[in-house]
Symmetry: C2
């Protein structure tokens, strides 16, 4: 039987705190034997547990940090504080150097990053916090578009429920797809969800502040049905094409045309969510020309199809 | 701001206990104001919280049962005990007769049923426990195939994660699809999942014990590729068609031909999960003849398509 330690300190998010116990605790061998024991370990016996939006209740932690001994995997859920106890960071570094797997759920990635365990690695975290955490830890290669990242002995899950996908992935790694699929059924979740976290990021989640090119971007967004060229964008911004590209890179980390495709995809998402327009019509209104091109960019950028996206996200009564 | 009370007593399942706080706690108005406050209420201050497979930790409950006052909605998560405190049942009956909404997650439906609140109503619960709970409470019309049932002021969710769908549904009812979709994005879940719970019930989840017709069923299962008739089944069982129908009804609550279609669908699920065979081939091998018929029965019985089912449940390396 494998031992999983869940590391908790004050402000731990309760839903994610309980997630490993629910998921690993449901894993059974063909003979019906439990495959994991899950221990909640904390640096003090009385821990504040949070819900979204603030404190929820207090927990009496069943294990101290000595409960980490013998655990082959340590999982860190999200915590709603910047004040990470140094004993937590020490414990994580020690477990990692002893050969244990370490994994995070949601903004638990910030704790792994603070311990230095994500330096020069790819990592996932909640899309709402990815930019902030990436600025704080520039050596970490955050990817907000995926549900989780498996980098061998260091794994990171995206926001909240993506922790379920991460736990199922670990069970699949340890015991194969059939055991993981059985767990998925017991918890009434798909064993492997299609698409990544990208499809959950709002189409209007644009940093948007303080941009020299704001006017040109607004102008372009009003013309997404049209095939806009670099020359047209540069002319509107009253700069050379070379300067336009440099400014776009500085402000969006993208070329103007990459940014434009992103805007077209965002407009398509908006139309898929809020209208009954057919795919060809949406493709035309967003400047993709034909539905095939829309589908191609959708798959590249969101790892899903326009049809699946519409089914998942449309409002009940589209206009 | 609406108040949601989560009712907990010893053995409450931690993942579901924390679910409402996470989901309702994430709901925001257009101005960014919190739309719900969530209170955990318990009959005693120190509560045992379970994970799948047994006790996890103890919780200091922030509210007693007086915390129910002012709550317009009461949610009961799963508990791993048959020993429901009478004060819990009284509190639920009182809240219901006072006009509050009551809702359950997973086997929390058993608590609502014990309080008499599900009598003569449709209800959802975890597929693994639906038969047992239905036998205990014969007046409840359990449907294991759906993710949740909204019966006005009484709502019930199916197993574990279906509680997420139920909470999102309540937010949609209270504040509309856009608010619920934003919450879904924050928790990285689809706002409305396709299919019901039916797709998560294993194809070999057959009670199977103590059946007079066991031999004939085994014989039929070995011939699912063929179009079996009532006469052939009766001949194998050495009974009249009328007796065959009666015995199938007694033992499966279905007619022989309904049972047979169920077996064909189960075989199709097995082949979709474990092989790369195309739809026409699978339809043929399961006795549906053509893929259109397979799709029709899939949609009727599982509320999803064979293609979506295969994507969700196939093993990583099908034979």
């Amino acid at each position: 039987m494998r031992t999983i330690a869940v590391l908790a300190f004050d402000t731990v998010v309760g839903f994610e705190l309980a997630m490993p116990g629910q998921i690993f605790g449901s894993a059974r061998s063909a003979d019906g034997e439990a495959l994991y024991r899950v221990r909640i370990c904390a640096p003090s016996p009385d821990i504040q547990v949070n819900a979204a939006g603030g404190p929820s209740h207090r927990m009496l932690a069943p294990f101290g940090l000595d409960g980490l001994d013998g655990a082959g995997t340590v999982i860190v859920p999200a915590h709603e504080t910047d004040d990470i106890p140094p004993v937590i960071l020490d414990a994580l570094r020690r477990k990692h150097s002893d050969g244990a797997r370490v994994a995070s759920i949601c903004t638990g990635a910030e704790v792994l990053a603070a311990a230095g365990l994500l330096d020069d690695r790819p990592a996932a975290t909640h899309w709402r916090h990815a930019d902030r955490i990436a600025r704080r830890f520039p050596r970490v290669r955050f990817d907000a578009s995926v549900l989780y990242v498996d980098d061998g002995r260091v794994l990171t899950g995206a926001g909240v429920s993506a922790g379920i996908d991460l736990c199922l992935h670990l069970i699949r790694r340890d015991h194969g797809a059939a055991v993981a699929a059985e767990v998925a059924r017991r918890i009434v979740m798909a064993p492997e969800r299609g698409g990544g976290q990208a499809q959950f990021i709002p189409w209007d989640n644009d940093p948007g502040d303080d941009r020299q090119l704001a006017d040109t971007m607004t102008w372009a967004r009003a013309r997404l049905h049209a095939p806009l060229t670099l020359d047209e964008l540069a002319a509107h911004a009253r700069v050379s094409v070379r300067t336009l590209i440099r400014r776009f890179r500085e402000q969006t980390s993208q070329t103007p045309l990459q940014w434009l495709i992103g805007q077209r995809v965002q407009r398509a998402r908006e139309l898929l969510e809020t209208t009954n327009l057919d795919m060809e019509d949406i493709a035309r209104r967003c400047g993709f020309g034909v539905a095939t091109a829309l589908r191609h960019q959708f798959r590249r950028r969101l790892a899903t199809t326009p049809t699946a996206y519409r089914q998942a996200f449309r409002s009940e009564h589209p206009a």
